[in-house]
């Protein structure tokens, strides 16, 4: 039942959204084709822009994994993470996510590349990527832009939310795909 609802939402979300966007655009007399291609041009730039970050992270994680260092680390942390159902392979993702957006995306890509997109570690990392944010970066940029130095309860609350998001991603992945 739970799985059915979740899978249903996933299945209909994109087609319904595309139909709504195109239909509403047509209704509002937007030149849908021209506007679409104008926006699509950006897609190329986005994909090219992330290459340096992807290379940096994939190579670094590759080095850490190929040498066996990752196995050492996950061996150390796994008693803790296996308790909530997180496979050791996902530990680097949970550590990286609040620190660096490009880094976290690199780890997702690396897990997909190594274990396949339909593996549990790759799915879990993808769900983590979608449901949490680069907390430190956002706080630094947003507060920095207006010169606020004393951030009060913003950081502890944001980190609590990250922790909740990471645990939720683990639990939901195990429930839906486990």
């Amino acid at each position: 039942m739970f799985q059915g609802v979740i899978n249903g939402v996933s299945a209909i979300a994109i087609p319904v959204l595309i139909l709504a966007i195109v239909g509403h655009g047509w209704y509002k007399k937007v030149k849908v084709y021209e506007v679409f291609t104008e926006g699509a041009k950006e897609g190329f730039n986005v994909a090219i822009r992330i290459i340096p970050f992807l290379v940096a992270i994939l190579v670094a994680i590759g080095s850490f994994r190929a040498s066996g260092a990752l196995d050492l680390l996950t061996g150390l942390l796994s008693p803790l993470t296996s308790w909530i159902g997180m496979p050791g392979e996902v530990i680097p993702m949970a550590l990286m996510r609040p620190l660096s957006g490009s880094g976290a995306m690199g780890i997702v890509s690396e897990l997909i590349n190594t274990y396949g997109p339909d593996s549990i570690p790759a799915r879990m990392a993808a769900i983590m990527e979608g449901s949490t944010e680069t907390t430190f970066y956002i706080l630094a940029v947003y507060f920095g832009s207006v010169g606020v130095k004393k951030t009060r309860h913003a950081l502890p609350a944001a980190l609590l939310a990250d922790l909740a998001g990471i645990i939720a991603a683990v639990v939901v992945t195990q429930m839906v795909f486990g």
Binding site: I21, V46, I127, I138
Partner: protein, 223 residues
């Protein structure tokens, strides 16, 4: 921070591989046995080059999906659908930010920022978010200290209210996942949990004496 992590991953891997080249075997019957070989290091080198190649292949696969998504989002912007969406989340935000007047420009910018985040439009969300912070700063009486409204806005942003995680779906599609969009349901669920925790945490923590606004603000108000 990211620099430290990167060097630990990179150099840590090389050092561990170098150590393995010594071929130490503790479990051997003759005590400590050493069988040196360069295999771990050559394997590592091969792994590094493969990773670099994989990164570019991935980005190439992403171009098409990103183009599709950003094209659709451009239509949604032009047709006013993003605005419509923003109007729908507005009543909720008005309740979350009691300190901000509902018709203040800060409210409008925050509404648009959150709407953009929900649709996975990270690039569009950031300028709107920065604009919202500037407007919130105008309502701030102690300029170097975050207001409750700012902290709440940050909590919403960092807990990532996402409906369509477009980039991750793109990466999964580029890697030939059997069903790239299957993560949407789980993401909405997990993001709901983190956002709920964020709001509860922010509203609870702001009452603690440790995080109270400096008293200067209240005095300034009375004068």
């Amino acid at each position: 921070m990211i620099n430290t992590i990167w060097i630990v991953l990179m150099a840590g891997g090389i050092l561990v591989a170098g150590f393995q080249c010594l071929g130490l075997d503790y479990s051997s019957a003759q005590g400590l046995v050493m069988t040196p070989s360069f295999v771990p290091l050559t394997e590592l080198t091969k792994g590094l080059f493969d990773s670099a190649k994989a990164a570019v292949n991935l980005a190439m696969g992403l171009i098409g999906i990103m183009a599709l998504w950003l094209g659709l989002m451009k239509i949604a912007e032009e047709s006013g659908l993003v605005n419509l969406f923003a109007r729908a989340v507005r009543p909720l935000l008005v309740r979350l930010f009691p300190e901000v007047p509902p018709d203040h420009p800060a409210m409008g910018a925050m509404v648009m920022n959150i709407a953009a985040n929900m649709l996975g439009l990270g690039n569009a969300a950031t300028p709107l978010g920065l604009k919202a912070m500037q407007e919130l700063q105008k309502l701030n009486k102690v300029k170097d200290t975050a207001t409750n409204a700012m902290a709440t806005f940050m909590a919403l942003n960092t807990s990532s209210v996402t409906f369509i995680p477009a980039t991750v779906i793109g990466i999964r599609a580029a890697a030939n996942a059997s069903n790239p969009a299957e993560i949407i349901g789980p993401v909405i669920l997990a993001t709901g949990v983190s956002t709920t925790v964020a709001i509860i945490a922010i509203k609870t923590l702001q009452k603690l004496p440790k995080y109270r606004m400096p008293a200067v603000a209240q005095e300034g108000e009375e004068v």
